[in-house]
Symmetry: none
Subunit: 139 residues, 2 copies
C-alpha cells in the first residue's frame, strides 16, 4: 500500500512548469521525510487525476526523478522512492557495509567454483557494462 496522499500544491500561474513543480515537491517531501525510501508513489494516472493534469505531465516528472536516481519507475509495476543509504551514516559503517557485501559476493563466487581471475574479470566486465548503460548520467 502505497498510497501516500502526496499532497502536492500546484500553482498554475507561477510560471514554473507543472512537471517542475511536481519534481521539486517530491524532492522536498523526500528531504522532509514525508516520503521515505521504498515508498510507492501514486501511479501516473492517479496523481494526474488528483492534480487535474494530464498523466503525461506526471510521467514527465517521474522520468526526471528517475533519471536523477531518486525514484525507480517500473513499467507494469509502479513507481518507488529509491532506497538510498542515509547520508549521515559514518564512513566506518559505510565501509563495513561494503566489506560485508563484497565478502558475501566473493564467497558465493568461490562457492560456485570460479577462480580469482574469473571473478575479477567478471567484476570488470560488469562495471564496464554498468557504466555504458548509464552514460547520460554525467554532468
Amino acid at each position: 500500500m502505497a498510497d501516500k496522499k502526496l499532497s502536492l500544491h500546484l500553482d498554475f500561474h507561477s510560471g514554473l512548469p507543472i512537471y517542475t513543480q511536481i519534481v521539486n515537491q517530491i524532492q522536498s517531501q523526500l528531504v522532509n521525510k514525508m516520503l521515505k525510501p521504498g515508498d510507492q508513489l501514486p501511479t501516473v494516472r492517479a496523481l494526474a487525476q488528483e492534480l487535474r493534469v494530464n498523466f503525461n505531465t506526471v510521467a514527465r516528472a517521474y522520468r526526471i526523478l528517475d533519471e536523477a536516481r531518486i525514484i525507480s519507475t517500473q513499467q507494469g509495476r509502479g513507481t518507488y522512492i529509491i532506497e538510498v543509504p542515509p547520508p549521515e551514516i559514518s564512513e566506518k559503517l559505510r565501509y563495513e557495509s561494503l566489506t560485508a557485501l563484497t565478502h558475501r559476493f566473493i564467497s558465493e563466487a568461490f562457492r560456485l567454483g570460479f577462480s580469482e581471475r574469473e571473478v575479477v574479470q567478471m567484476v570488470r566486465d560488469s562495471l564496464k557494462s554498468w557504466k555504458e548503460a548509464n552514460e547520460e548520467d554525467n554532468e
Copy 2:
C-alpha cells in the same frame, strides 16, 4: 519428500520483474547444489502462495526455465529439475549465475554510493585476504 522449501527472497522494489527473480534464484540454487537433478519444485500454486504472488507469475518463471531446458514441467504431474543437464547448459548456467551475482553486487554497491574505484579496491582486498586466510598456492 519432494518438496524442497526453496526459500526464495523476492524484492518487490528492485526493478527486476518477479518472474525474473524467481528464474534467477532457481538457477542459482541449482548451481549451488541446493537443488539437484530430479528434484521436484513446488507446484506453481504452492510457490505462488508462499511468495504471495499470482500463480501465473510462477508459471511464467517455470516456462522460461523449461524453455532453457533447466526444468521439465509436466501438466498434471509437476515440475522437476532436469535429470541430465547437458554439460553446455551447466557451464552456461554457471556463468549466468556469476553474471547475475556480480550484477547484483555492483548494483548494490553503487546504490550504497560507492565509486567504481572503491568497489574495485574492495574486491582486490577481499580476494587478497581470502587467499591469505585459505593459504593456497597458485596463480
